[in-house]
């Protein structure tokens, strides 16, 4: 039942912004390993003599369902936080596993569930829940030449008050895949994965520019809460600082845990730049508005 281990399927330790990460596919088959290599193969190598911050290891589950594909378990730093999934859904689970560990255990920085993009070292924070469209938006901005700091986690330094990049493969839903593929002809996508909770998805590799700049923090110059709405007029509304402060707490993964450090870091972010609520009707609109705001700062 156990497959032979394949050391060549181990990408080694890679640097993903602040974290060193190992996605160890030695226990599973080549197809998954190739997908992981496609998405993470260009990330800078991290020191292999030291244990990485996060190890995600997919492995075949001993338990088998009577019908259907084999299941894969995902070990994250030694534990199994999730139910096993069919082999085809392993890639999303790897991503979820990384997100889970970072969101749950990082206390040295203030983490937001937010996208962050930058130009010339000046960053815009785009807080939003999963499914709010921030992945599509940030991927589209990246297609326009923006640096993608992250589509998932905006990481604010408690001391330096700067945004630290955390570029990860961007998860895009079916319709968005085509949109972004058109805007970014040289884009590198994983295979499409069907039957997930979000329907069909694919992962987009971050641009070479985004990976190149991942080691340098950026200064936040605006916070924009984006929301897509097919009906109604687009609206850009400045927020009061206190309003934005309280909303950002809701979008934070670890504000509560880090206590006064979170309070002060958040106050600093609120103090230092303007905050907006933004309802947009089309991606083009969003891109041009965000670009305009950025240019004015």
């Amino acid at each position: 039942m156990a497959s032979a281990r394949r050391p060549e399927n181990d990408l080694g330790n890679r640097r993903v912004g602040l974290f060193s990460v190992s996605i160890d596919c030695t226990d599973v088959d080549d197809a998954l390993a190739r997908q992981v290599a496609l998405l993470y193969g260009d990330y800078p190598l991290a020191d292999t003599t030291a244990p990485p911050d996060i190890v995600v290891r997919p492995q075949w589950c001993r338990r088998r369902l009577p019908f259907g594909s084999r299941l894969v378990d995902h070990r994250v730093n030694g534990d199994f936080p999730f139910n096993p999934v069919p082999a085809g859904h392993s890639l999303p689970m790897i991503e979820i596993g990384l997100n889970w560990f970072i969101a749950r255990y990082c206390t040295t920085h203030l983490l937001f569930h937010a996208a962050a993009v930058a130009r010339d070292g000046k960053a815009i924070l785009l807080p939003g829940a999963s499914g709010a469209g921030k992945s599509t938006l940030s991927a589209s901005l990246m297609a326009e030449g923006w640096q993608l700091l992250s589509d998932e986690f905006a990481i604010l330094g408690s001391e330096d008050r700067r945004l630290h990049p955390h570029p990860r493969p961007v998860s895009l839903k079916e319709e968005s895949i085509d949109v972004v593929a058109r805007a970014l002809p040289n884009a590198c996508f994983s295979n499409r994965i069907t039957g997930t909770a979000k329907g069909t998805i694919a992962y987009l590799k971050p641009s070479p520019d985004s990976l190149d700049k991942a080691h340098r923090s950026a200064v936040p110059v605006a916070v924009i809460f984006p929301r897509f709405s097919a009906q109604g007029a687009p609206v850009l509304k400045p927020l009061t600082k206190a309003d934005s402060f309280m909303r950002l707490i809701d979008h934070s993964a670890n504000y509560f845990t880090i206590m006064e450090a979170g309070f002060e870091a958040l106050a600093g972010l609120v103090d230092s730049c303007p905050h907006y609520d933004f309802v947009y009707r089309s991606l083009d609109q969003a891109i041009s508005e965000i670009t305009a705001i950025h240019a004015g700062l």
């Binding site: 030291a50 338990r63 378990d73 730093n77 534990d79 999730f82 997100n99 040295t108 993964a253 206590m259």
Partner: protein
């Protein structure tokens, strides 16, 4: 007749366990191999001892020489413990404030007691439960007052450990929306359905007041006995943490004059001789806890027969060592543990226990309960909007 030591095979098992070795000999953290850290951290996290490892590493000056990724995870654990301590103190404050009008004494138990009494187990500990004890006649009014003042009863509809709680506590736990603690309200220190029944009045005769009005903790000997009881009534995966807490308590208490005499006296008075035997044996065997020879001799009369002792040794040692390897499926040890220890403790009839175990085993197999596949990990209660 002298009581036999833990056998060599079991002692080897302890020796092979990296986490237990680190707790026994913290200075070895300075020389722990780089490649050993991931497993050590994983096991420590699983058993709730990660913050403790951080403290030990810091105490022996090992922080500078351990790998950076390990150091970061230890620092994170320390912050979690710090957060938890604030939460415990605040919850105790809220409870005391809510119950002030009743004019009754509230005895803090376990984690909250360790923290507010400044005892060693609190330093690097995480609790999500808060246990208080009041006199039996006040149980209802305490529960009602808390419910009136914003606490709510925990959902009992899921067949999970809440079922087990019915055998462990009089009342379902309550919690305050927006905060994270389950408050368990007790009137004694043994499970209500256990075969040991303690006259709670005897516990109250020995309580020690804290600085806060109407709050107190158990007398030290009783606190140690209670910790011993918990060794056998906590979840399997908490056994190592529980044993280590007991070790810290014994080390701290043992320095006081007359503690050991008091301990044996109280065990006799409360009918907990067998518990006392175990709660001295295992910390001593695993962590070399100092126990005076005279005390060992005095409790040897409470030892079980050789066969039961051998079985308990195996159960306890396997509970605290490899059992926490993070494997997907519970081992045979788990079932054995439940069967013997819990049926020993609880008057749960065998068919009930079997049903409970089967259900739990089925749950573990299907694994459909409570394991998230999304990353909405936010569990903080959030702020209170204040607009008077």
């Amino acid at each position: 007749m002298p009581v036999s030591r833990i056998g060599p095979r079991l002692r080897q098992r302890l020796h092979d366990d990296r986490l237990i070795e680190a707790l026994r000999h913290p200075h070895r953290l300075q020389t722990t191999d780089v490649g050993e850290w991931p497993e050590l951290l994983a096991k420590a996290r699983r058993t709730g001892l990660l913050a403790q490892i951080e403290k030990l590493a810091s105490d022996v000056g090992a922080s500078a020489v351990i790998p950076a990724s390990a150091r970061r995870q230890l620092v994170d654990a320390k912050q979690f413990a710090r957060r938890n301590q604030t939460d415990i103190r605040f919850e105790v404050n809220r409870i005391a404030r809510a119950l002030a009008g009743l004019g009754i004494d509230i005895v803090l138990l376990k984690g909250a007691a360790y923290l507010l009494a400044g005892l060693p187990p609190a330093a690097a500990r995480l609790s999500s439960d808060l246990d208080i004890m009041v006199e039996k006649q006040h149980l209802e009014s305490v529960e009602q007052t808390l419910l009136d003042k914003g606490w709510v009863r925990a959902e009992m509809s899921d067949y999970d450990d809440r079922y087990y709680r019915r055998w462990m506590h009089e009342l379902p736990p309550v919690w305050h929306p927006g905060r994270l603690f389950m408050i368990d309200i007790h009137h004694t220190i043994v499970p209500p359905t256990s075969r040991y029944s303690i006259s709670a009045g005897r516990l109250f005769e020995d309580v020690v007041p804290l600085g806060e009005p109407r709050l107190s903790v158990l007398g030290r000997a009783d606190m140690v006995l209670h910790s011993g009881i918990h060794l056998f009534t906590e979840e399997f995966s908490a056994a190592l943490r529980q044993l280590y807490d007991l070790h810290l308590l014994l080390e701290e208490s043992g320095a006081r004059d007359a503690f050991w005499n008091r301990l044996t006296e109280r065990a006799d008075r409360l009918g907990l001789g067998r518990i006392l035997f175990y709660l001295l044996r295992y910390p001593n065997a695993v962590f070399d806890t100092t126990v005076p020879a005279a005390t060992k001799a005095a409790v040897s009369s409470h030892a079980p027969n050789a066969a039961i002792l051998a079985m308990m040794d195996t159960l306890v040692i396997s509970a605290i060592s490899d059992a926490n390897t993070g494997t997907r499926f519970p081992s045979a040890d788990f079932a054995q543990w439940c069967l013997y220890v819990r049926s020993h403790w609880l008057k749960m009839p065998p068919w009930q226990l079997f049903r409970h175990l089967s259900r739990k085993a089925w749950q573990n197999f299907v694994d459909g309960f409570g394991r998230p596949a999304s990353v909405d990990t936010r569990h903080e209660p959030g702020q209170i909007e204040n607009n008077p």
